[in-house]
Each structure stands twice: as C-alpha cells, then as structure tokens.
C-alpha cells in the first residue's frame, strides 16, 4: 500500500492541490473544465474526505465521463495522491485498448497508445530499405517468397484502424444519394399533404397529425474484389487492410478475394476482433500469392455471387494489376456480363501509379472499355483520394 502524498509546507491548500490534480488529469488526456474542480471540492464536503478510498470514489464519479476514463482513473489518482509526491506525468497505456461493446464513446482514452504501437509500413522487419507504401515501386521484400502466408504478418491493427477511417469516408461519399421522389417518413422535411387530407377525414376535417415526407436515401453499396496473386503481394497489405476497414465501417459492403479461385471473405472480415479476422482470412486464402486467373474469377463472380448481391445500386471495385494468363476476351466478357446488372465498375490498379505505365497487359487492355473508373491505388492515401471521384460517379 502506497502512502498518501505529503505536500510541501508552503503548499497553498486543498483548493490548489485539487487544481493541481485536475491539471494532472488533463495532462493525461481527460477533458475537464474549470467547473469540474469546483464540483469536486463541493463533492468532498459531502463525504469523509480524509478517507482516501472515499475520496477516490467521489472524485472518480465527478472527473470521469466514459468507461475508458473510469478504468484509467485509479492509476492517475494513485500517481498523484498516493506515492509520496512523485507525480507521473504520463500513464503507460496498454497497446490493445479494451473496447467495451456496451460503452460507445468518442472519448477514447487510449488514442496515444494506438498511435504509438509500432511502425506501420515495413513488412520486412525494418532494415530501413523497404517501404511498402512507396509510390508505385516494386520493392524487394523478404515476404514475397513465402507461399503460405500468415496475413497477420502483413496487416496490423493500426493499418486497419487507418483504413477504417478511409473506408468510412468512401462509404459516405457513396451514400449521399437521394432519390428525387418523396416518400412518407416519420421525420421528413416536407408535409405530406395527401396524408394530411386523408387523416383529417377521421376527425371531421380538422387536421391533427402532420405526416411528413422526405426523399429516401438510395445508398450505393461497395463490392470489392481483391486480387491476391503473386504479382500483387507487395500491395496486398494495403488492400487487405482497406477491405478489413471497409467491412468494419460499412455493414452493407461485400468483399471477395481471388487468386486462382474466388473466395467470399465478407463474413471472415466482419469478425469483431481485427486480428482474428485476419487469421480466418489466412485460412480462406489458401494459395495466396500463387498464380492468378482474373477472367475465370470474374466469370465465377458474375454467375454466382453477382446474381445475388450485385444490382444497379452497387459499385464493383476490382483491385488487381491485370496480369492474367488467359485471353483478354474472357475478362471483357465477364465485365460485360457484370455491367448488364446495372452496376458501376471501378478498377484500381497499383501499377498505374508508375510514371510510364501503359495498360499493355492484355487483360487490362481488354477490360478498359468496360470500366467506369480506372485509377491508380497502391497506398491508403490513393484510396482516400478516390473520395471525390466516387461522389461524381
């Protein structure tokens, strides 16, 4: 048991100490105003303030505002009041924040811990050479040769958190579609006059209720198809993080992987635990970084999942470099078939980021006429830049 801090004799009194404690809490990320100090002093007059446990509980209820802060508070209290005056200025936050599902707060007490959890972009153990998020360079990393890959080595929770933010923005860019028609709605912006008239009949022509109407949202839905064949390995990290983020940000999004065959990964990526999601994904992606059959995979998609999940309110996002062994006709055939369902097709090609890139890969050349958008994407930044393009789509 630590003993109660002894303050210097020239210390001006309890009010100043409380102010010092509030400053200490502020240093540690709690958002407190001047008012709280007053309330805290007031609260201490209602309890036996000489008992440290009582004081701790009282101050806890005054100074904390969410579950994270409540969990952090005891440590902060101890470091100020209980250790002989040695005031820690920073608490060591845990690397994995305890996210309770039942407490939902933007006041994440552990933001600093997330940002400090490690380097984000060196899959090769950090010898300083390989930055996998460089602009369109094929870089040598020692991960390329591993055929059976554990995706957890490739993608980190921090990436997913970052990707989640981008995916949220992309989702919002796609979501803001309004129908021109107006429908009855509980919280509409216009009065639904026809309903007013009809309902007023029941009350002798006096309108009581004011039914409203509004333009319903016609949300677009993202369906992402990601190529994880050998030639794409360097970029997989970014794309998989993006997919994981997308799944977590948008409940209606859908995701698939393909190399030599097509796998639906939506369910796996929706796992609440980001790392476990990747572990499940690793199991699904047997043959990861092998050859690629783009045309076959797209055909499979168009004839199976596409018929169920793709409609005119879908954006199909293909993440691939377009290196295929089959003929270009196959790929254009598959795209034509997909387009017949009324969806938009976006192709994001990491190689397009290269300065002198020409879509000479035969498959890519065959696909070009059928795309609504063809863009470079090899970093999360590129994906973020898509936001403005998607709003115009």
């Amino acid at each position: 048991m630590t003993r109660v801090t002894k303050f210097a004799a020239r210390d001006p009194g309890p009010a100043a100490r409380m102010a010092g404690f509030v400053a200490h809490l502020r240093d540690n990320g709690l958002r407190l105003g001047v008012g709280e100090t007053g309330i805290a002093l007031d609260a201490l007059t209602h309890i036996n303030a000489t008992n440290p446990h009582d004081a701790r509980r009282a101050l806890k209820s005054v100074f904390t505002g969410c579950a994270d802060e409540a969990a952090q508070f005891d440590g902060l209290f101890n470091s100020f009041w209980m250790n002989g005056g040695r005031v820690k200025t920073r608490v060591t936050a845990t690397a994995t924040p305890s996210q309770s599902e039942n407490v939902h707060s933007s006041r994440e007490a552990s933001e600093e811990a997330i940002s400090g959890a490690g380097d984000v972009s060196a899959p090769d153990g950090g010898d300083g050479e390989a930055e996998s998020d460089g602009e369109g360079q094929l870089v040598a990393t020692d991960v390329t040769n591993l055929f059976k890959k554990d995706l957890r080595d490739l993608v980190r929770p921090t990436d997913i958190a970052e990707a989640e933010k981008i995916a949220l923005r992309l989702g919002a860019a796609l979501r803001d579609r309004r129908s021109r028609r107006r429908k009855a709605a509980r919280k509409g912006d216009q009065i639904h006059f026809r309903k007013v008239m009809r309902q007023s009949l029941a009350t002798g022509g006096e309108p009581f209720a004011l039914p409203k109407r509004q333009r319903p949202d016609r949300t677009l839905r993202i369906t992402a198809i990601c190529d994880v064949s050998g030639s794409m390995t360097v970029y997989s990290r970014v794309f998989l993080a993006f997919l994981a983020g997308l799944m977590r940000a948008d409940a209606r999004a859908d995701a698939y992987l393909f190399h030599t065959r097509l796998v639906r990964i939506t369910e796996a990526l929706r796992d609440k635990d980001a790392l476990r999601a990747l572990a499940r994904l690793s199991l699904l992606a047997e043959g990861f970084a092998g050859g690629s059959k783009i045309a076959d995979s797209l055909h499979t998609f168009a004839s199976t999942y596409g018929r169920r999940f793709v409609d005119n309110r879908t954006v199909v996002m293909i993440l691939s470099d377009g290196y295929d062994t089959a003929s270009p006709d196959g790929i254009s055939g598959a795209l034509i078939r997909l387009r017949k369902r009324g969806c938009k097709v976006i192709w994001l090609n990491p190689l397009k980021g290269w300065d002198d890139y020409e879509p000479t890969a035969r498959a890519m050349a065959g696909a070009l006429p059928h795309l609504d958008l063809f863009r470079a994407a090899n970093t999360l930044g590129d994906l973020a830049a898509l936001e403005s393009e998607l709003t115009r789509l």
Partner: protein
Amino acid sequence: MTWKTLQTAMAEQGYIASGDLAMALHLSLSLGRPLLVEGAAGVGKTEVARVLAAVQETQLIRLQCYEGLDAAQAIYEWNYQRQLLAIRAASEDGETGKTVEARIFSDEFLLERPLLKAIRQDKAPVLLIDEIDRADEEFEAYLLEILSEFQVTIPEMGTITATTRPMVILTANGTRDLSDALRRRCLYAHVPYPDLETELSILVTRYPDITDRLCAQIVGFVQALRKQELEKKPGIAEMLDFAAALMGLGVADLTEDPTVLQATLTTLLKTQTDRDAIPTEIAQRLAGKAA
C-alpha cells in the same frame, strides 16, 4: 446519510451496489446533479433508479427513450381532441373567443409527459431517463436545457419552474455516442459485470432459500460463461432467471444432468450463434470447473 448508509439501505431493498456506484449516487443526491450510468445490458442500470426511489420513499418517473422521441412525448402536449371539443361546445354556447382561448390553454388541457411531471411533484421524485443513447441528438439538446435549468417553457402558459428538483438518473449502453456536453453535466458511474462475491450476494439476496452449493455453482458457471466468446454475454438478470429455472426444476447440482443444463441455457444465451458456441461438452466443462 453517507454513501455507506445508502449502500446498506439499497442492500435492504435487494440491490447490491458497488462502492463506486453507491458513492456516485450519494454525491448525485447531495450535489443535486444528474447521474449517468453506463454498462452492459443486464447489469442492473435501470434497477438502480427503482431501488433508489424505494430507498428515498418517493415516486419513480420513467422516460423510456427511443429513436424519434420528441419533445411532445417527453415534456408536454396539448390535448388537441379535448380542445377541439371545447371549441365546438363553446361556439354553441356563444362563449367569446378570449375566454375560450384562456380556457383551452390551461392546465386542464395540458397532458403532462414524464419530464414536466417530474418537475411538478410535491416531493422530489426519481426521474429515470432510460437508454438516452437511443434518443436522437436533438432530444439530447432539449434534455440538457431541462437538466440545467429545471424549468420548462410553454409558449401559451409561460415558464414552469421546478417545485422540487428531481433526482435524475440517465442510463446508456452504447447505441450511440453521447455528446460531451451531456457527459460533462452529469456525474458518471460505470457498472461492470459484478465480481464473484458481489454476484453471490445478489443471488442470495434474491433467492434466500437457495443452497450454498448450487449458488456457488450457478455464479461460477455464469462467470465462466462471460469469459467465453459470446455475442451477448449473460447479465445479472439472465443469471437470476437461470437460477430460478434451476430451482423450479428442482436441480440440486449443476453437473448432475447435462440435458437439463443444456435446456436451461436458454435463459442465459439468447442468440443462435451463442447457443452453438456452447455445446453440451463445453457447458459440462464449465459447470465442472464451477463445482
């Protein structure tokens, strides 16, 4: 009253409050500030208010929040139908416009909703604003005004100031993020799942005639179950249902009959995936450990 006596008084009413919660309630009462209680579903957040009302021997006024809740349903509403009837009747009696107007915008035609009702009581009631995170953000703004001023302005009648200050308890379980303004205006208490001893005493308080052995088994089992990967972890309410089910079936030992245990799991696990996640073998293993 100190927080200890409050804790004891609540225990007498059958609610075992943790020290943190009792202190927060005590301060909320003595400082006259609203208390925000957060925690998982089924840990007894709503129950806090009910018990507090019982301890204070006062009325509990409850406002259940939901999406689309608006001021009319939460604060007050004019009884339009009656007003209309009154107008029709008045025109037949030949009453003048002025007197009719004064009459139809009086207390008689005002429908009190929970928030207005709470500030017009003779004895300060406990006002429970349940699941505030389900209500819209606009409503939160209304609420902030009432919680800081304790007065309601009705354009036709003027401002109604609180005769007594109700003791306000807000509960939330994370449907939506609450605004910082609301969090700052309230004292805060987070109610976690209870630890072993607390849960044991809760169970004994509710079912005094339960055997010690079964009691320990039930609580141990439920605590172990909460450590499993579940979508919806069983709360205290579920634990009590489970105990009631077992006692109703006359089970004396949790491990004695796997089929009964599996059948009674319906009281604890409320989704299909969770049922699938705990097959008979796992349930038996957990029960065996708890025994």
